[in-house]
């Protein structure tokens, strides 16, 4: 089964997506997501200009060899652009192999290890009361796990706040430049424990509560946050501190038993090797699209399993339905699944990427069709032209550039 075509499709049905479509001499096609939020065209170029020519004539079945060929063969390894491009190829080849085998991808990964995939949604509101209302909407929609964020009094805007209920939402904003938000750790640390207290009191002990710090604290600030949330039983505290220095999580870990999740910005197993092998975290949140595809993500989760670290993949709207389909096949097949983030796409996006995975009662279910169970409607995709969009940047009150 030789590859005869590799096409990069950029479309913007509500937000930008980059998709790789691989065609073989057998007539089968496979698709992979290559979307890197705010840096989409660099990945498109990486694929179109540097990788696509190399794919022509290759045996689509040799997934591992192709992975190594693109990873080691590029000489310059790792990083979001490279690993997203490799991921797109890898996922497309798994889609092809599934179709060639007549099996859904999770069957090729060893088959179902569970029946369904628990997800969490994003609840938020300007005030604690607004957030409680939003959590109610998720609970009513069947969610068993909800990420809760609320506005920080005294700040003009806050990460994770600004929409209502389990519909589509997109943090990247179209425009010539990123919006700039303002951050105060002091103000933030004052409100979050009160939010958790209120949510736990209102919704009782069973609802799983998550929270995303979004890389904004030092390890010691995060430790204090962890201690302050522990009485309200957080499911996890996400991205408490930047992860370039993995050792920072060792310090955090030594000061609180609060469960820690990290990984949406990590692009290779090397970026989380210390985090995992030292059990400094509880959940690893790497994604199929930014961490090298199904082949590499499975390696990360398998390593994590050895150390009782569970999966908790990133699943914001910057993952196209192609990536969500792939993620669900992985989620259902691994031993150490934890939870899957889930933000619904716009109707336009769902139209461009018709798929057969489905949500029910707080769980997602992967497709049982051969391959991934998701396609791209190229004609429709063409209608939605790329629009520049950026994720926000974040500054402290004195103007210092801070992690967003």
């Amino acid at each position: 089964m030789k590859i005869v075509d590799a096409k990069v499709i950029v479309t913007c049905p509500g937000r930008n997506f980059v998709t790789l479509k691989v065609t073989t001499d057998s007539g089968l096609t496979g698709i992979g997501d290559a979307t890197l939020n705010g840096r989409e065209l660099a990945v498109a170029s990486y694929l179109r200009d540097h990788i696509a020519p190399l794919l022509i004539g290759r045996d689509a079945h040799r997934i591992s060899d192709t992975w190594q060929y693109l990873y080691k063969g590029a000489y310059w390894r790792r990083g979001p652009v490279t690993m997203t491009a490799i991921a797109a190829v890898d996922v497309a080849l798994w889609d092809l192999k599934g179709k060639a085998a007549g099996l859904p991808v999770h069957q090729l990964l060893g088959g179902r290890a569970r029946d369904r995939v628990m997800v969490y949604g994003h609840a938020g509101g300007e005030t604690i009361d607004d957030t409680l209302d939003d959590v109610r909407r998720f609970v009513d929609a069947g969610y068993r796990a909800v990420r809760v964020q609320c506005g920080v009094p005294g700040l003009p805007s806050t990460y994770g706040v600004g929409h209502g209920g389990p519909g589509p939402y997109e943090p990247a904003e179209a425009g010539a430049a990123p919006t700039e938000s303002v951050w105060s750790t002091t103000k933030y640390l004052d409100v979050v424990p009160r939010l958790f207290a209120a949510v736990r009191e209102r919704f009782g002990p069973e609802l799983e509560l998550l929270h995303d710090v979004h890389h904004r604290l030092t390890p010691m600030e995060a430790a204090r946050l962890g201690e302050s949330l522990l009485p309200y039983r957080p499911f996890w505290i996400e991205d408490p501190t930047p992860a370039e220095n993995q050792g920072a999580f060792g310090l955090l870990r030594s000061h609180t038993t609060a469960p820690i999740a990290v990984g949406e910005v990590l692009t290779s197993i090397w970026d989380c090797q210390d985090l995992i092998t030292n059990q400094w975290i509880d959940f690893i949140r790497t994604t199929v699209v930014h961490a090298g595809g199904i082949t590499h993500l499975k390696r990360i989760f398998d390593l994590a399993d050895l150390y009782q670290v569970r999966s908790g993949s990133h699943g914001a709207t910057d993952l196209s339905p192609v990536s969500m389909a792939a993620a669900l096949h992985v989620d259902v097949a691994i031993s150490n699944f934890g939870i899957q983030e889930y933000m619904p796409h716009t109707a336009e996006t769902d139209d461009v990427f018709p798929h057969t995975w489905w949500f029910s009662d707080g769980y997602l279910h992967p497709s049982e069709e051969p391959g991934l169970g998701v396609e791209i409607d190229e004609t429709l995709a063409e209608r939605f032209e790329y629009r520049p969009a950026y994720l926000p940047v974040n500054r402290l009150e004195d103007g210092t550039l801070h992690s967003w």
Copy 2:
């Protein structure tokens, strides 16, 4: 001094180069190298499509803030494409600041800490005798340090071999796909000690001898190589094993006192933090172009200085003369300079990038002009159209994809 234009220039005067040219409302211009060998257009897109629009209107003097804006503001951090794009901006801004101040860039970095910059050249040959002849040519040209590589008997081709003497040479080959070379660790480890013995015997105790393993050994194989070369006093053994798992160098270090150099593929301080702070290496080879520019490279070298690790920056022909100019300003200003790699460019490249640094008697000397002391001849650059080219890939004798 506000930025009014940021232009990406792709040219191929013998090999491909990507250059960023930043123009300010003061009329001053600054340039930065953005060349990522074999993945050039992805960086060009990253700059043109995602970064250039953000530069317009920014204060060219705020280098640190711009660096953080591009690094933290991208959300997706690190990696060769991202860090090369950021480097291009950073170097262009230092060029501009130097011109605005009327000072060469090294003056802004604290001024000269030494008079001149020792370089090493690349000697190689199919046989040990050929290599001896080639070393002779470098010695005759004034070099005090030479990297020696020779063909491995029984392998069709070998890394680092295939040219004669201190003229231009380019490992990347134009074409639709990478060439594929074959590797045998057994055969390689058999020949290198004999090569070193022969060179040391012929050229006496003073000539500095370097060797590049090019990531192809395990740490324990590298330890055995180190022990076998020690009697011939290697200046360094480069890239003995892949660097994603920094701890592997700890293992290597515990088994040999041979000097170790690593870093041309590393793109951030986080990639070498353990290598440096544990003193597992002797030389850090990160470059101004792939490791985030002057701002970030200086951070890496300053950290290294605390741990008696010296610089030894990558300087193959994939660094454009813009990067070489920048490297020399850093080299001459830091406390812990070790050595600078140097491969001359083609005459065409030198014409496209007129510059005032110069070679003499085994040393390079940075420009004393304001800024970097290098410009780009855009008219000439336009004549040399981009040609796809790839670095080779490498396979074991059984077909396994191996590090090139």
Copy 3:
């Protein structure tokens, strides 16, 4: 730009200051602070007798080389006298380079990374009520962060107490010998949590509260203090225990998540290397004047940045306005600024050192003039003759000499 004169000026406009003034053949002059509180003349001698003769004829632009020449060249390294003398030279050379470039010093350091520099003032009072009144005066003056100290019942005098509101105050006292104060850890640990409770209750959750232990506790006593203050959200606890044995902070850290600041007595990066690289502290308080000048202080802060340790430079009145000017240029340029201590000088001091940095609304703003933006009025300086003055010493109630 060759140095033609290096002059040491000792003056006492309210308190003693030692200033180095360097003149070049270009006619430009640069100044650096060399004040070591209570040991001023030893530094003056170090500069006048041993360093000044070496400066004549040197290239003022070679800051790094001069730094190494004075540090490594002295053979006897580190320590307050040596590092303060080197700092004076280093700061004077940066002042000169800025003037030569026509740029304020922060532009040479990479440019502004923030708009303004948050400071904290020193509130204190004999009783908790007195202290509350004093905090009110600072809040009314626009401060957003206040250090709070109060008298310890049962002790005749207490560190940090004895003035009212944000005017000038000087702990060093003129006289033939230091005053001797008395210390009781038991009595101290009894009052501080009550002070914090009262201040937090009165001023609400946003005001940043700092406290200075001034080296007087063991790590375990400090851990208990940290735990007792945590409910009142301290911004930092300063100098909880002496820092010669850096490992003591590891012990402290393992017992409390309270934020820790240390460093005004540390004179080199080696004195805080373990503190920083182990993340045992949250704020590093080294100063431009006692820690080797801008060149070395920037090294310390850059190292700290890798480990999420923020700056919080000492800024008592023993820093002359020259050092405060230099500190502000560093503060505004580094990535990891935390807070700047600020005690206003007497009017006489401000007259001797005319400067253009300014305070507004709880923030300081560095000068935008070329160089540091501060000069010395030598004629006026001559009017204020040196007067011996000492910092106090401290004894336990049984007469034991204790850390002051």
Copy 4:
């Protein structure tokens, strides 16, 4: 016994010495050495301007309290100037206490733990043959231990070379500025093993051979040197690498069993705490004059004894006979004496400082007179006026400032 006078005497009988003379109301006087080579007047000022006034009226018997008063009371701790000044006071008070008790100082330290103090002399020569001749002169003079250094071929001058036999020699040179020497590690490492082989072959297995690297290697270079000297049984390898980062000696230690000595530049127990408690060194070379006097030096040696680290105090000519007298009292009294460096002073120096310790058969013997057994002839001292002198600085062949 109250102190009524504290006088600082600067004299230059061949080289500069600073001496503190303390007089008490009992009529007894004590003296202490305060010489900091090349930075003498800064210490003189520290003593005269800041410490002497504090001594008047103090009880001369309270040595420990005075030590803490000067150390903790200065607020700014450690470093060569401070610790040398404190040392001078401390030694003078021990001299006084001995005289008051009618006992030599070693009796106050617990009495003799050994009969005599083995010393080593400094042999050197331009060539290996010259060095062999010089070693012969020392052996003939009764020395049982000799430090051997020889000229490095290709370098214009070398540390430790340039005199003949066991007479006086002084590395500091009078003049307006330091001389600048040139260094090449490559050339150095080539010659030293050959020197050791030659000396060991000529003088047989019993002579103790020492070598001083003088801070010029990295830990790994030092490890290679250690391995190369091991076959010739070095007594120690001194100052192999700079000691600011104590951990560097851990790395060195893990690579060679060669005995390591360090400490002449260290001024406090904190500077060698890790070196000792990890047993990374075999000999600690701190001196009575630069490490805070007898009180503090004894603390260092006592700590070292716990870890089987032996003493090996610095004893170059920059130690005045006052310090040598004090050193011998310590040497003879501690449990873990190793060896004492010994360089004879000029006849003029011996005249200015009449003393009763004596050399015989390779050993020194401390005085048995009350106190230290050394005085200063103030009338004679006045005849020798201070002359500025500097230790050399050292540069690499490319002009980089290197450790001398």
